[in-house]
Amino acid sequence: AQTVTQSQPEMSVQEAETVTLSCTYDTSESNYYLFWYKQPPSRQMILVIRQEAYKQQNATENRFSVNFQKAAKSFSLKISDSQLGDTAMYFCAQQPFTGNQFYFGTGTSLTVIP
């Protein structure tokens, strides 16, 4: 069974500081995709970053980067230079290579404090 676990229900960070959100997953698949999604208070869910499991290099998108540890089945999101607009719910998700279904974690609510 595919499961995604986010062990931090809530986090906060000072503006301009760095924060790391944790995500672990369980899968028997050897190839899969991993995602971080952001859901701001306005509620539209948007993709933050995507990682292919067969790529060893960690994905980076501007201030957002991941630490992908395949053996440990860990996929954390680092947000550098946090901004007020980063305040949102963050969801980690996994998609097996063999299918199209997405498996989401329970989310981490991040608050950026001015």
């Binding site: 995709y33 993709l47 997405f102």
Partner: protein, 111 residues
């Protein structure tokens, strides 16, 4: 290019009634997913449609059902509404092995 669109945006229904929510995927996307997000909770997987077929459903009672049309748009039907069905219902679409794109959601309130 238009994103995933959902209608209506808000809905108030009475317990016991039936409701239909609609979703139009991004053009060319064949997979449509439905999720329920109750207040303060994560995403609960409801249904996944691809190429007109139901591929998987989450742990929800049979009164939650849906379908996907030949143009890949989708409907989610909920019969015999209960108070705990009050939630944000999110639709997403994707191509094969790509990220999912989400709509704005439909806020359903059951009174």
């Amino acid at each position: 290019e238009a994103g995933v669109t959902q209608s209506p945006t808000h809905l108030i229904k009475t317990r016991g009634q039936q409701v239909t929510l609609r979703c139009s995927p991004i053009s060319g996307h064949t997979s449509v997913y439905w999720y329920q997000q109750a207040l303060g909770l994560g995403l609960q997987f409801l249904l996944w449609y691809d190429e007109g077929e139901e591929r998987n459903r989450g742990n929800f009672p049979p009164r939650f059902s849906g379908r996907q049309f030949p143009n890949y748009s989708s409907e989610l039907n909920v019969n015999a509404l209960e108070l705990e069905d009050s939630a944000l219902y999110l639709c997403a679409s994707s191509l094969v092995r790509t990220e999912a794109f989400f709509g704005q959601g439909t806020r359903l309130t059951v009174v």
